[in-house]
Amino acid sequence: MNWKNITLFLILVILFVLSGLYNQVNQKDITIYLNNPEDNDKQKISVSGTVLKIDNDEILLKDSMYGKEILLKNVYDKYQTNQFINIQGIFHKEGYIEYRKGEEIWDKKIKLILSIFGFLFVVYIFITDYKKINLFK
């Protein structure tokens, strides 16, 4: 590996870190809403997570990113506990979300299993084709 390759590799690492951090800083996740409820009152919000508890039209949701428990109100769609759902709603400064629409993400595990098989297939193709591939030449 020469200096040119090392420089290119470093550019790649910097690109990954900068683009990721840039997006992380500029995207609003659930913590931004919970830490500044007054500033985010009546703002649109999207959250995904697992249904923990259902009480009439209220649902307690465990957010998938940070594990925060959030109360959803006015949920007119039927869900069951332990379902993984994605919802859109309106955040209120009191700390709850007024439900607008949502959907169950039913195929998360199926997709993961199929994707592992897909990845292994590509690894197999690479192994069988390794003689054609030039590495660091």
Partner: protein, 161 residues
């Protein structure tokens, strides 16, 4: 996003079907198939591992699925790893990565697609055409069709020999 099997089957078909009529495309497929399939999974390969490490990294990994980052990464990667020609290797990964992003954006749902115009815009765009209920049938259809195409090539080769 569709799973990687769907991406691989769709990519296989868009290269293998025209190669029934053009030997040049078949030669290209035979020479570059590892990079064709690498391109088919490339955007997920560089972004999803972050999400599996921690769900908190979801926003961090989102731009790694954008054409801007994917193309630069493919360019740099093909300076180290390539088949025959660095530029053809780059174009192969680039074209099939873009095809991957296009397929991802066809999916319907509340999740609003990907950041296609990153870093110029952080807004997420999706074409919202295929619902997740029917996507599993699309995957099975593509896989079956891919299998039929492979069987065709197997017998064509056998007859030629």
């Amino acid at each position: 996003m569709p799973d990687l099997i769907t991406h691989i089957a769709a990519t296989h078909l868009i290269v293998k079907l025209p190669s029934i009529f053009r030997d040049r495309i078949l030669n290209y497929y035979n020479n570059y198939k590892s990079f064709i399939f690498l391109g088919a999974i490339f955007p997920d390969l560089i972004s999803k591992p972050f999400q599996y490490i921690s769900p908190k990294l979801y926003n961090f990994s989102l731009p790694l699925h954008s054409p801007f980052v994917v193309l630069i990464t493919a360019y740099i990667l093909t300076r180290f790893i390539y088949i025959q020609n660095k530029n053809t290797s780059f174009y192969t990964i680039a074209i099939f990565s873009i095809f991957h992003i296009l397929l991802d954006n066809l999916q319907k749902g509340l999740n609003p697609g990907y950041q296609i115009f990153f870093p110029f815009s952080l807004k997420r765009y999706g074409l919202n055409l295929i619902s997740s209920e029917i996507y599993i049938y699309i995957m099975l259809g593509l896989l079956s069709f891919s299998f039929i195409v492979e069987v065709y090539f197997y017998y064509r080769k056998k007859i030629a020999n």
